[in-house]
């Protein structure tokens, strides 16, 4: 292998090195391009919190990771429940002493 073909440690070639301003400018351009691409047909949007992969990952925390089949099997029930839990989460009585025990 010729010496010129040998790999150099990254950033050691001064000609290739980016200064801070260039880095910021190019990152911003990359971000804008990503945003444009996300709007294009076929582009992959960021995963929603309730995407299959996120639900599988979240289920692992509960001690039993769900299979994709199980996530699909519960989807209707899950969406119905989450819709109503969202309303419940808006409940804010601003009480000084929350009463959490049911007592008829």
């Amino acid at each position: 292998m010729a010496a010129s073909e040998q790999r150099q440690p990254r950033g050691t070639d001064k000609k290739m090195r980016l200064n801070r301003r260039q880095l910021l400018t190019q990152s911003a351009a990359l971000g804008a391009a990503s945003a444009l691409m996300a709007g294009c047909p076929g582009a992959k949007a960021p995963a929603s919190p309730t995407s299959e992969e996120n639900l599988i990952a979240a289920s692992a925390i509960s001690g039993e990771p769900l299979s994709p089949e199980r996530v699909r099997g519960m989807k209707l029930m899950f969406d119905f429940t989450m819709k109503h839990l969202q309303t419940l989460r808006e409940f804010d009585p601003d009480e000084a002493e929350p009463v959490t025990i049911f007592r008829p």
Binding site: M74, M77, F80, T81, L85, T87, L88, F91, I101, F102
Partner: protein
């Protein structure tokens, strides 16, 4: 007397015949057993029929009555119980493959009290698996319980067999449980009377739990008076259930004939009628007018926190059972559950502790809504189901949730069926379901009467006055006529 005519009698009608020995408990029990044999293949209300044991019990009751030891109005009355109640020496399956061989060796308190009063146990009734989920009974080969008014229609759940068996006169009365409507939904779909009493009024000892903070056991019957009679026997302190109230039990029949003159009836402005189909809403308004015609006053009431009801109910009724069922899931039995319960247990994993606490918190505000309303009125009327009985295939979890057109829009059936019964569960108030009309398809429409905590007496009083002024409870499903 023809056997079927005996089966059509209410408890209050049959009681004097037994007491005066014009009919024997054996004759009555045999009539019901024959009817079960004839109708159960099509209705599928019984998981277990205790043929020999029921007849043995009936002979004992016959001897007692003949000897002058009459126990009271339930002596010699054949009943059946949802298969969630433990009964001594029988299978108690909870409608699940997981417990298909589970034999219990004691009686639940509710069962023991009915037996003590002289009731004869005909058998155990079908139910949605573990009292939650679709009405497909896996134990009987995927055959659902069928509505006696139309065998292609659902009975709803979870006390499916309890509703169908009483409606088809396969027993004089039954026991059900109600955590999110499981007594009132099948009562409404089947045109019978069902009581979810005040939380803690009836012991749950020996009843497999669904959601501890919401569970109730209660009677399902052919008439309001039968129901009041049964609750009077079931209610009362039980040290074996720590949530069971030790308040004295009044005579629930004492005001059944007092009428409603001077009583104040509330119709909720919000929440219920906008999510009911027009025929149901019209029937409920007509019931209010009937009671007004009998001397009650009717006014609108507002229950502002009910908008949180379904979210709170779901957080509790999915969250609490997951804690109970985790033991079975860890034992590798997850695949034995119905598809609906699989979906419910898996959904419950995403209900946070904050959601659960919010749900318990919102209950206090819903209770306060009811208490405030009860300063203006004595009872509140609402639909028990909001819709007529749906086609059976809509009970099974599919790709889409079936919908109905109601004033609020085109909403899912789940939205309606969770919405109607849940406020009384969260608030813990008593709620009586009874028939209030029939749909164009000839299916029963249901009314519920909600009252103050521990004021079942007024609820029954209003129910009895309405029942006496109408004839809905006198109609019988065609399945009975064919037998």
């Amino acid at each position: 007397m023809p056997a079927d005519d005996l089966c059509f009698k209410t408890i209050v009608e049959a009681g004097p015949l037994l007491r005066t020995k014009r009919v024997s408990p054996v004759e009555l029990t045999q009539a019901y057993l024959d009817r079960i044999e004839s109708l159960n293949p099509s209705v599928n209300a019984f998981i277990t029929v205790l043929h020999d044991e029921a007849l043995t019990q009936a002979r004992e009751m016959e001897k007692e009555i003949a000897a002058g030891h009459y126990r009271g109005p339930l002596h010699g009355i054949p009943i059946a119980v949802k298969d969630i109640f433990a009964t001594n020496g029988h299978r108690t399956t909870c409608g699940s493959k997981i417990l298909k061989d589970n034999v219990t060796h004691y009686d639940a308190t509710a069962v023991a009290r009915l037996k003590q009063a002289g009731c004869i146990l005909l058998g155990k009734l079908t139910m949605s698996e573990f009292a939650l989920g679709d009405d497909v009974n896996l134990l009987t080969g995927q055959h659902p319980t069928r509505n006696p008014w139309n065998l292609e229609r659902s009975v709803s759940g979870s006390s499916s067999g309890s509703g169908a068996a009483v409606s088809a006169s396969m027993c004089a009365a039954s026991l059900g449980t109600d955590t999110g409507g499981s007594i009132r939904l099948p009562s409404g779909y089947c045109g019978i009377v069902g009581m979810k009493a005040t939380y803690g009024r009836v012991s749950r000892y020996g009843v497999t739990p669904l959601a501890w903070s919401l569970d109730n056991a209660g009677p399902m019957s052919k008439s309001v008076e039968d129901n009041a009679l049964l609750l009077g026997t079931l209610a009362g302190a039980d040290p074996a259930d720590s949530m069971c109230s030790d308040r004295p039990v009044p005579d629930y029949r004492s005001k059944l004939h007092a009428g409603v003159q001077g009583l104040r009836i509330g119709l909720p402005k919000n929440y219920f009628l906008e999510y009911s189909t027009p025929d149901v809403a019209d029937a409920v308004r007509a019931a209010a007018r009937t009671l007004e015609g009998l001397g009650a006053s009717v006014s609108e009431v507002e229950l502002p926190h009910l908008k949180y009801t379904v979210g709170a109910e779901l957080a509790l009724i999915f969250g609490e059972p997951l804690a109970y069922h985790t033991k079975y899931i860890r034992q590798g039995k997850f695949d034995l559950y119905t598809d609906t319960n699989k979906a419910q247990w898996d959904t419950a994993r995403y209900i946070s502790s904050t959601d659960y606490i919010q749900a318990q918190r919102v209950r206090r505000y819903i209770i306060q809504d009811f208490e405030k309303a009860y300063e203006q009125v004595d009872v509140i009327l609402a639909p028990s189901t909001g819709v007529e009985a749906n086609p059976i295939q809509e009970d099974v979890l599919a790709d889409q949730i079936p919908t109905r057109q109601v004033p609020a829009g085109n909403v899912t059936l789940w939205e309606i069926l969770w919405r109607m019964p849940s406020p009384a569960n969260l608030a813990g108030v008593p709620a009586l379901a009874l028939p209030c009309g029939f749909s164009a398809a000839g299916l029963p429409l249901g009314l519920q009467i909600m009252g103050r905590h521990f004021d079942e007496t007024t609820v029954y009083r209003v129910g009895a006055a309405y029942e006496q002024a109408t004839d809905w409870h006198t109609r019988r499903p065609a399945v009975s006529a064919k037998a």
